[in-house]
């Protein structure tokens, strides 16, 4: 059981307890589920911001500056910095704190580095669970920061109220060919390192693509904000754009429907995880192992085996 004392400490934003709670939800065991059930009522107050983009675009530096901006307004900030786990060793090198040294000891800031663990390159379900801990602990802004390669950029959009895609002038040539996903999830773009040559061209290229998209006057059209995060240039413009996007969502009753959509995805994922955990129990694992050589010898097809396993699973559920 989760002690009330522990939960009270989380609500009081006691960092040791907040930190331990994140470790717990990362483990994903039954105790974690109980904790998340307890915390849910106290979540929903934080505004969640996703920051993604290619490696080296300056996401950590931008997160650092944006956090400093919010701290000047006396707002508290929780940061979840996500880096990939090696699928080969299970290890991870989490280096986002290097660019956030300045805010690391600020009492109103909590930074947690997370590895994607089992989730291939993506923003795991556990990341959202960790954000719930920070939300319940009363952090007013939650920033997810993750590299935008593979599936993760789609996941970040399913976790954040506003999603920022950070690009650099050098991204210019490749913007045309950029993966559809990264372009479409952006609520706005930040062209970082915009003091470098080619920044005007990059803005033009980006704007051209955005204008080609189908949109009506009522739709939100992603802006492009120029910044030099390392020199603290353009940070207030970014904060203003977040406010503008938040107001747009609120005024059009989109914030709640967006959050409903996020919960729809999340609940489905939780159910699917539960099913998967029940599905791959001892007996079916051994059936699968036994069948492998039969499939290799072409005596049975993978589909026959799969149907056999699935009907075994169905039978078990009916019996229960």
């Amino acid at each position: 059981m989760i002690s009330n004392n522990f939960i009270e400490k989380i609500f009081r934003q006691e960092k040791k307890s907040v930190s331990r709670a994140i470790t717990l939800v990362e483990s994903g065991d039954e105790k974690a589920t109980n904790l998340l059930k307890e915390l849910h009522k106290r979540t929903g107050n934080a505004y969640r911001i996703g920051i993604t983009g290619p490696p080296g675009a300056g996401k950590s530096t931008l997160t650092n500056q944006l956090t400093k901006y919010y701290r000047k307004q006396n707002k508290t900030v929780g940061i979840i910095a996500i880096d990939p786990t090696s699928p080969f060793t299970g290890g991870a090198l989490l280096g986002d704190r290097v660019r956030m040294s300045e805010i690391g000891t600020d009492p109103g800031v909590f930074i947690r580095s997370m590895a994607t663990r089992g989730n291939l390159g993506g923003l795991s379900k556990k990341t959202i669970d960790a954000a719930d801990v920070l939300d319940a602990a009363g952090y007013e802004y939650i920033i997810f920061e993750t590299v935008g390669v593979g599936q993760s950029e789609l996941d970040i959009a399913n976790a954040a109220d506003s999603t920022i895609v950070v690009l650099v002038p050098e991204s210019g040539d490749s913007i045309q060919a950029m993966k559809a996903g990264l372009m479409e999830i952006a609520d706005f773009f930040v062209l970082n390192k915009s003091d470098r040559p080619g920044s005007e061209n990059a803005v033009t290229a980006l704007r051209t693509i955005l204008m080609l998209r189908d949109h009506t006057e009522k739709d939100w059209l992603p802006n492009i904000i120029k910044a030099v995060a390392s020199e603290n240039t353009g940070i207030s413009d970014i904060a203003d754009e977040i406010v503008r996007h938040k107001s747009f969502l609120e005024n059009n009753e989109l914030l709640l429907s967006k959050r409903e959509e996020h919960f729809r995805i999340r609940i489905k994922e939780i159910v699917e995880t539960l099913i998967r955990n029940h599905l791959w129990r001892d007996k079916r694992v051994s059936i699968l192992e036994e069948k492998l050589s039969i499939v290799v010898n072409r005596a049975e097809s993978p589909y026959e085996v799969a149907e056999h396993l699935f009907s075994d699973f169905q039978d078990q559920i009916v019996k229960q």
Partner: protein, 135 residues
């Protein structure tokens, strides 16, 4: 609970030589651990605060500047103040034999000197975490 080993690797004080810290960080990662690398010029306050927020099993400090007799005790003192002595404080660097003895007496874990195999560090950490699981 999932006992994925989490280690904070930091360079403390005015010491820009981070090759060793990076080699150790990469070796620990390749051994399947989650390594939080904080980079250069960290104060003891920054290190202990990061260790709390990251909920690590161990803090590894690399010091090549000669400031080990100041920095290690200061980190240890802060860990006691913040009641996180359950975290292992270990390190490495160029540390004279006589200082090694003194630091060990203070309650600091293994201090690895030049020539150490990364395998020894991995073995040490793995065994330590097995003996001291987080509750």
């Amino acid at each position: 609970m999932d006992q994925k080993i989490r280690v904070l690797v930091a360079k403390a004080g005015l010491d820009g030589h981070d090759r060793g810290a990076k080699v150790v960080a990469a070796a620990l990662r390749d051994a399947g651990m989650e390594v939080i690398y904080t980079g250069l010029r960290q104060t003891p306050e920054m290190i202990v605060e990061a260790a709390i927020q990251e909920d690590v099993h161990a803090i590894g400090i690399s010091i090549l500047s000669g400031a080990h007799m100041t920095i290690f005790p200061k980190i240890l003192q802060l860990m006691r103040e913040k009641e996180v002595e359950d975290i292992l404080l270990f390190g490495g660097g160029i540390i004279p034999e006589s200082d090694l003895v003194k630091l060990k007496e203070m309650g600091i874990g293994m201090l690895f000197t030049p020539g150490t195999s990364t395998q020894d560090i991995i073995k040490y950490l793995t065994e330590w975490v097995e003996k001291h699981p987080k509750n």
